[in-house]
Symmetry: C5
Subunit: 102 residues, 5 copies
Amino acid sequence: MLLGRVVGTLVSTRKIESIEGLKLLVVQPVTTGNRPAKGYVIAIDVVGANTGEIVLYSQGSATRQTPETDKCPVDGLITAIVDTWEVGGKEVYNKSGSEKPA
Amino acid sequence: MLLGRVVGTLVSTRKIESIEGLKLLVVQPVTTGNRPAKGYVIAIDVVGANTGEIVLYSQGSATRQTPETDKCPVDGLITAIVDTWEVGGKEVYNKSGSEKPA
Amino acid sequence: MLLGRVVGTLVSTRKIESIEGLKLLVVQPVTTGNRPAKGYVIAIDVVGANTGEIVLYSQGSATRQTPETDKCPVDGLITAIVDTWEVGGKEVYNKSGSEKPA
Amino acid sequence: MLLGRVVGTLVSTRKIESIEGLKLLVVQPVTTGNRPAKGYVIAIDVVGANTGEIVLYSQGSATRQTPETDKCPVDGLITAIVDTWEVGGKEVYNKSGSEKPA
Amino acid sequence: MLLGRVVGTLVSTRKIESIEGLKLLVVQPVTTGNRPAKGYVIAIDVVGANTGEIVLYSQGSATRQTPETDKCPVDGLITAIVDTWEVGGKEVYNKSGSEKPA
């Protein structure tokens, strides 16, 4: 899994029937230092992620392991909204902290 | 999933039997800024995408999650024709708009 | 799926039993402009591709979706021999044409 | 599978229900020369890996082949804690040795 | 599938139970010209490959398609020991030949 920031939304009316009703978000991958990384993914959201939030996302067949996405032709899924992570004993990101700058 | 522009078509008469009748399109990946990205994919189309349209496509086993592609040896699928997407609150692409330049 | 040119063959006598008898070809990926791209794949051939031919190939679990490769530990498969493709309304490749240079 | 060093931990309270209780670690890939490689993965840990340890990790559907991760939408898994490896007949890494520098 | 040279071995005592007893080898990918390529994989060996041998390896779910690796959380497998391959009608590698330099 990788870390990313939700940066946008995508709308489509003509699509494969099984993905009707699934929310599609534009996700910008970030490094473990919380800096933008290369590329992007369009991921399904079933956890209620909002623009600006840092999320964990899966790709490949993992994407279909939820009741909402089972047997859907999708290969990107937001699996969690991240609260905090640390690298080398030092907190890199804290969702609360980033919302209340000192 | 990734975004791409349909740029061409591909024809083959000698192929694995289960993919007979599937439409094959040449897709040019695009960035979230709607600029051409590296590489390409040859994807199955079951939603009726036309050349020039921006689509969402899946890769890997997701490709087989439709009635038309079930158990087919394919690993690229157009899942949706994109109407619009926005990044950072700003609309990047609008299918209607792009067809009717101001 | 991607496009490639069959450039060689590979022989192995000591291998996993389930892949006995499968033909292994060396495939050079090509761009949509029919120029050599980076890397290579060793792919199973069940459609009778010959050296020099342009083929379409799949990777990952798609590879096992044929009677010959079902449950085999393989991750590259030639799915079709390409007749022609066009990009931007212009024919890039034509199998007949390339065999009968003007 | 690839080699990596466990460099951190990640916490999330809002996530897909099936991954509740799974431990998430930040893993820095390393080369066979035990030097940091590009990128990172957020991987599930079911073997009790600690920060600083060198581990072997899998990606893709392999990640779901444990009782704890079965049917979970995850695509990174620590499969083993590495004791030692050698390349070209020369030991590159030894967990005991690295804990007791001469 | 890709070609690689077996360059080392890896030992782990603490690991996911289902992979107990599986042999883990360090594989250096090679080009079709038999030169070292980027990266590496740690692959399961069930065909009895030795250090120095050129092998064919699979990744992803293909890895689990053997009796020994079924349902194991692994994503790299040596599928064959290569005898010979040719590119453009010219033999690039011959296992016998490489063992008996002229």
